[in-house]
Symmetry: C2
């Protein structure tokens, strides 16, 4: 008979605890496929719980596919096939629920519109055919040379950055690169992150056991004085277009931070240039990397925003002194991006497709942004709101004319299947600043989405 | 005029330091493409070094493509194109050197022989066509369900492991999975690694700031007593076929280690099953994962040995309690393997190709091993050597009848373009145990390679 110490359930309800115990025994194989479970009545008596408790636990197990019921015979442990069936149902259900839930998702949404899939597939087929079995050779730890060359050329032409291909390290997305950086610089250092800011940055550093200091921002981003007070030794910044405030760091501030970094060894700045490609107006300010004279800047970017998040390709540019350290300490790591994807992206970049794609996307996003601003001006909200950070990037901030607190407004919107997100959720102090992240909404639905928002206020 | 503090060069030679200073200025853009460098004589006088020092530095810069020389006009800073040319030459040179150097590589060599590339390419094309744009949707953090299902089925059929697909996490290769595990369990724990053992394991844990204890092995692998003395809380083992000793851990030892793990919370065992697919004789001993009753085992495997190292795909099986922790703490990470590769591998597994491939490779490797053993028996070494760990895996140990120390023998072999590797290089105390890692050598060249080895002794 199944025996579990029900008193060990902690905060969990009786039925939840029983469900978990049985599920774990099934997963571990203690209960084998086809095995009959005790009847509800018998198990209830044995464990001294109510029959309803056992019934609820069994029902949950059936719903998730761990157990199946046979009429008049009782309950049996499922095989892996039924598990899988169960997980499939659960996942399909979640996905369905997700889709149904949001009519308009102003937070993230899918960001793959406009991705030239058939062209990408064509390049992949070319690479498969032309490279053949050489695709089985391992790439160098820092990525294949062709891709690093293509990225260096791109950075030179479009960001004015003079970077040697040997300074570039390819990795499977931004979070993987954060993970590599904290290994490279060490978790004994204190990492200064932007407040408000992108939460994954701090999550990665904290998971590696590094200290994190939240540095408050003003209208120019991080201030040197605030950095000094925080005790941070390494800064993680997005000077081109900060998330979520949309702040663009002025050149004077950039130079001041570089001076701060030069004061002591082990001070570094991580320049996270995550959506700098989408600049609609305003002058281009040089990247920190390009004005760094003292080898203190690590530049990171990915193709998640510009191509598709599922591609999992990013890169970092290390100063010469750190690239040497990287090869010595971390050269044993294999590159996390498959060779096939690396060559496909190299072609996409060097044959001019990326440039064309960016130009098209810039037009598309500019239209969307303009349409939103136009709809706002013609709405009942006209004259009562403030827009911030709309000159670049794929989101801006909208100060709403409301007294309702952000949390309440968010809940009300949820009932309308509208997903909202506020500055205050990212550690920003002020209320009523809504994040307008529009790539996920088709142009023709913008009007409906904004009307829904206006009605809420 | 270029001004560098030559007294700051530390251990480096004058020319090396000067070369690095100028190179860094070029990479940083302080020296711009096309800019003329001072003449050798002038720079030598300015820096108070000899003309030969400057000449050597300039020559190195020219060789690497940072600088080009124009007859009678002097030296100029190269453009990115010339950098790239330089790096290409350097890389081609290294590759060429590598190829020329080893006639027989008994350490690693390429491990892609027999990979069914055209079949793989066909499956990729199918996935591209059939899945189309859905390939742009992000995969769940732990990988796409189809692949996790296919792996669960494989583990059930071929390793007798009952694993739920929701316990599986896909990641870009073994080192990436080690990196994830140390984040999951924490770097405050002490990780016990095998001595002798696979060096990358300790490298990853150390880079994450975790303590590492080297646990000596006996003829059954790690002993519980040795584990206790080491102070380790988490063990990293390869019980199926230890690298490099080839030891297979007996069932009693496995159970004892599991009991040790159950004694305290935060004790875990990482079961690294890196080449268990190649068992030629001897009974299958159940994996630690399959006899673990207390949710203390994390199982890891990759497709690097069985398919190709460049594919960068591996997985870990977490016990239910850790999979929950994974989703809570690390669910924000994106999966590092592209969706495309995940679906291709899922098909390769579920359509039976992997099984057929493994059967073919087992035959191929068994033939190679038998041929080596036969050649040894017919060599002048007959009766004087000992073989250990040849029942499974892609390498075995060969005790050589020699008095020459390993280092000297290695150097002598190098002159014959034969790459050798000894147990003593992996932290094993005893001399004269040669690692025979044979996948990289074509069957028809084995005789020549072994003759070369015999001649050395």
């Amino acid at each position: 008979m199944l025996t579990y110490e029900m008193s060990k359930r902690g905060q969990r309800s009786l039925y939840e605890y029983l469900y978990q115990c049985i599920r774990d025994d099934i997963v571990k194989g203690t209960l084998k496929a086809g095995e009959k479970l005790p009847s509800k009545r018998m198990l209830a008596r044995h464990l001294q719980v109510s029959v309803v408790t056992v019934e609820n636990a069994y029902q949950q197990l059936v719903a998730e596919g761990y157990v199946y019921a046979q009429e008049k015979r009782g309950y049996f442990v499922g095989s892996i096939e039924t598990f899988v069936q169960g997980e499939k149902t659960a996942i399909a259900y979640h996905q369905e629920a997700e889709k149904q839930q949001w009519r308009f998702d102003l937070l993230g949404g899918r960001n793959t519109e406009g991705f030239p899939f058939s062209l990408w597939a064509k390049l992949m087929r070319q690479v498969l055919t032309e490279r053949g079995e050489t695709l089985l050779e391992s790439s160098p730890s820092c990525g294949v040379l062709e891709l690093r060359e293509a990225i260096a050329q791109y950075l030179l032409q479009f960001r004015g950055m003079r970077v040697h291909p040997s300074q570039i390290v390819i990795g499977a997305g931004a979070e993987y690169l954060y993970d590599q950086i904290v290994q490279l610089l060490g978790n004994h250092l204190c990492y200064g992150v932007e407040q408000p800011g992108y939460p994954k940055v701090q999550q990665v550093y904290t998971l590696h056991g590094a200290g994190c200091a939240r540095v408050p921002l003003d209208e120019g981003g991080m201030q040197v004085e605030a950095v000094r007070q925080s005790g941070a030794q390494v800064l993680h910044l997005s000077p081109s277009h900060q998330f979520p405030t949309g702040v663009v760091m002025p050149i004077g501030r950039r130079q001041a931070l570089l001076k701060w970094a030069e004061e002591k060894p082990e001070r570094y700045i991580i320049e996270d240039d995550y959506d700098s490609e989408f600049r609609f107006m305003g002058a281009a300010i040089p990247t920190l990397q390009s004005i760094d004279q003292a080898q203190r800047v690590i530049y990171i970017n990915t193709f998640s925003r510009t191509l598709a998040p599922s591609l999992r390709m990013g890169y970092m540019v290390l100063p010469p002194v750190l690239i040497e350290r990287y090869h010595t300490m971390m050269g044993f790591y294999s590159c996390t991006v498959p060779v096939m994807e690396q060559y496909t992206l190299a072609r996409f970049l060097s044959q001019g497709y990326f440039e064309r794609h960016l130009n098209r996307m810039r037009g598309l996003y500019r239209n969307k942004r303009d349409r939103i601003l136009e709809l706002l001006q013609n709405s009942p909200l006209a004259g009562q709101y403030t827009v911030q950070g709309a000159e670049r990037g794929l989101h801006f901030l909208l100060k709403l004319p409301t007294q309702t607190c952000d949390r309440e407004l968010k809940q009300q919107a949820e009932q309308q299947k509208l997903r909202l997100s506020f500055l205050s959720e990212y550690g920003g102090g002020e209320q009523h600043w809504l994040l307008m992240h529009y790539p996920g909404i088709p142009l023709e639905q913008l009007e409906e989405g904004l009307a829904l928002l206006s009605k809420l206020l």
